[in-house]
Symmetry: C2
């Protein structure tokens, strides 16, 4: 054991993974001052600074802004203020999610308008979910979730159905374009598109790796899904299934 433990910038960088620029920035804005400086003006950090940094990083991970983080970290000994800050932050996040959902909805409808015509009515679109000769099979193969999704979709009003349909249409068209362009299913752009698909599915439920892969399989195995999806491009259902498999393996747990 050396008498006084201390770390220089590069050591902190290796320990924590933050960039040296970030450390300097935190010093500059007063969020994390080093314990002192060594030869050549090198920053020296000790235990309390590392602990403070750890706290900062946790809060940063949660998406708080630096001023908020500073307020929390400086108000040590007052755990209630931390909860209050996180709660307020959480509320902001939910509000932002709501805003983006409405925005995505508008954009999708807008795309539908510009595409003109009647690319597929809401009725057609969700026929695959509604009157379901496959309900029993679905329950067997994908569990109660699929059935619950069907039930939920069945209760939608016009507006929600149109909105969901418009969004799905946009996602499928994007995928169809990528397929037509010859992109392999493991191309990063395809990954992005599948991420959008996964987010869209999030309207119903949030599948994990296995469930999502299963959903992809269903697209190929259930002719109602196959028909709907291939309406956007011949073979899209198979392409999508494979892309989903790749995505799920890489990004879900």
């Amino acid at each position: 054991m050396t008498g006084t433990e201390s770390w220089t910038t590069d050591q902190v960088v290796r320990l924590t993974g933050v960039s040296s620029r970030t450390l300097r920035h935190y010093d500059q804005v007063g969020l994390l001052r080093p314990a002192g400086t060594g030869p050549g003006g090198r920053r020296i950090y000790r235990r309390p600074e590392l602990q403070r940094l750890q706290h900062v990083l946790v809060l940063r991970e949660l998406g708080l802004g630096l001023p908020d983080i500073a307020a929390v970290v400086d108000g040590v000994g007052d755990p209630s203020s931390e909860v209050a800050a996180l709660t307020a932050h959480h509320a902001r996040l939910l509000a932002e999610i709501g805003r983006l959902r409405r925005l995505a909805d508008s954009v999708a409808r807008s795309i539908e308008e510009r595409e003109g015509g009647d690319p597929m009515s809401a009725d057609e679109m969700f026929a695959a979910f509604r009157n379901d000769p496959y309900a029993a099979e679905a329950r067997e193969r994908w569990g109660d979730q699929a059935v619950a999704v069907q039930e939920q979709v069945a209760t939608w009003g016009r507006d929600e159905a149109v909105s969901a349909q418009a969004e799905m249409s946009a996602v499928h068209r994007r995928l169809a374009a990528l397929m037509a362009a010859g992109e392999p299913v493991d191309a990063p752009e395809v990954g992005d598109a599948v991420a959008a698909h996964h987010a869209w599915v999030g309207r119903f439920w949030t599948p994990g790796r296995e469930a999502y892969t299963g959903l992809g399989a269903m697209y190929v195995d259930d002719p109602r899904f196959t028909a709907t999806i291939d309406g956007y491009g011949e073979g899209l259902s198979v392409y999508l299934r494979d892309a989903i498999a790749v995505y799920a393996n890489a990004n879900l747990e």
Copy 2:
């Protein structure tokens, strides 16, 4: 009719609602050049500029960035590029929504941890949804939606239940704090908190004005909900119901 129609900056401001600063900014970045300038360097806009501005504003409404808008608006006569831009934008929105959802989830769990203890287990929390002696009544009063929600909740895995529970807990605690602080249900801060509640409910379904108001009523009428919600503060269910009513009237259709 005057021979040449033209509008000055302040007239355009009144017509369109954009700020004069924004018009100058659009001029500066080349997104919307005025047709010419009058005495004192005043900007003069004519019909084509107003049409272009309208197009710009539509796209801005949809959340596109100015460079993207410029690309679309300049590529007149090529409607496919517009659809492509919107589709890409839509995908970005969905990705962002997914990111924020995961973030909100983390934040909520984090709050739960800090709150310590076991403020209410996931089991307790959703007991109100599961084994339901009230199912028949619910179906009668709030239609098939409530039942579909129950079915969906019943299928959740541990992770999703914990996540949803943590988020709900955060929302309720925020509301309880506002109630304890004596905020009236029509205070703007309470409106924000209810917006967060509405966004949270969006995990299950997106209620309109009537449905949301009905949900609020259920919080008071159904003792299982009342008990759960009042666990965060005596009388919170009534407070929340009233706050929801105010919010729904003001913000939903």
